[in-house]
Amino acid sequence: MGPLAANEIISQDTNLIFAFLIGIGFGFVLEGAGFSSSRKLAGVFYGYDTVVLKVFFTAGITAMIGLLFFSLFGWIDLSLIYINPTFLYSAIAGGVIMGAGFILGGFCPGTSFCAASIGKIDALVFIGGLLIGILIFGEGYALWEGFYNAKFLGIPKISESLGLKDGLMALIIVLVAFAMFWVGEWAEKKFPREEY
């Protein structure tokens, strides 16, 4: 049955309409959870507000468990789902640069759009920065093309690389996530901020 678009149950244009609807859900939840506030987002790095950690990992494990159950019931063919390819060096370097961008700018791309939609000017400036950053990457592509494509590992799943079953890997991630939630709530008590 699923994924509907890959199995040609819905057309490519219908798929775009669903993209819009899914985007509405995405934006609504992000804003509702407080991801439109950069100080709330940055709070995760200081312990005063770990909403990012909670929402992010809850979403990740919910979808992960959901996908595994869908696959178990034969509702979705996981081999047709997009999994991002792993290029080891650029995945790490990109993550490090994004981490720096996150702590300086206070947003990530998705949350900046969400914040911009309710009138946050800093988010608009952040989006301007995104445009410049991507333009720089595109213009200087020849300089880092080699690095960008280095150490290609295929499209491995973490469960495959560790030699575990998908389900067991999922259980481990879920347990790690709840351990982090516990630490997060402890940190919120330890480093409270009254007003931000």
Binding site: A33, K54, A91, G94, G95, F102
Partner: protein, 175 residues
């Protein structure tokens, strides 16, 4: 203390929000066979703009050529429509909760100007990093975790690890 309480009440419970976001992500995978994303839409805008302003340049630079080959109409892509939805969804939620307001949010210890400079710098870094890492927090880290992607989890660890490593040096901006 009362203000904190009021504030946190207006936002959704984070775990509820997480479950809802997870369901959105699950729906995206079930319907479209892919996760959520954000920076890809910005990339579409850039490629379209470069192609419109300097078509000759877009035909020569491999970055744009590769992208245009794979996406003949960059603006008619899944991520662009999804991000338009994000703008609508965020606006709706903000309107319902009464949070629509033009403002620059920053710590009382810094000026708006400083906040905006940092936002721009952060945006540039994030834009660059998202291209190098083949996806941002939503596309690579969040969606990658849901499908147990090794690359996604590595990128996620790198993002949060660097965030914590650098947090001390810019603490004035936030707390």
């Amino acid at each position: 203390m009362t203000t904190t309480k009021l504030k946190s009440k207006t936002y959704m419970n984070p775990y509820l929000a997480g479950v809802l976001l997870g369901l959105v992500l699950l729906t995206a995978n079930f319907i479209s066979g892919r996760g959520l994303g954000a920076s890809g839409a910005v990339k579409s805008v850039i490629v379209t703009a470069v192609d419109a302003v300097a078509p000759g340049h877009a035909e020569n630079a491999p970055f744009y050529v590769e992208y245009l080959e794979a996406h003949p109409k960059p603006m008619k892509s899944w991520l662009v429509f999804e991000m338009l939805g994000v703008l609508v969804g965020g606006f709706l939620s903000g309107a319902l909760a009464g949070r629509l307001k033009f403002k620059v949010e920053h710590s009382p210890k810094i000026t708006s100007r400083r906040r905006l400079i940092f936002a721009l710098a952060g945006g540039i870094l994030f834009g660059f990093g998202s291209q190098l890492g083949r996806g941002c927090t939503s596309g690579s880290a969040l969606s990658g975790m849901a499908v147990l992607s090794l690359g996604g989890i590595i990128t996620m660890a790198a993002i949060f690890g660097t965030g914590y490593a650098l947090a001390y040096f810019v603490r004035k901006n936030w707390i």
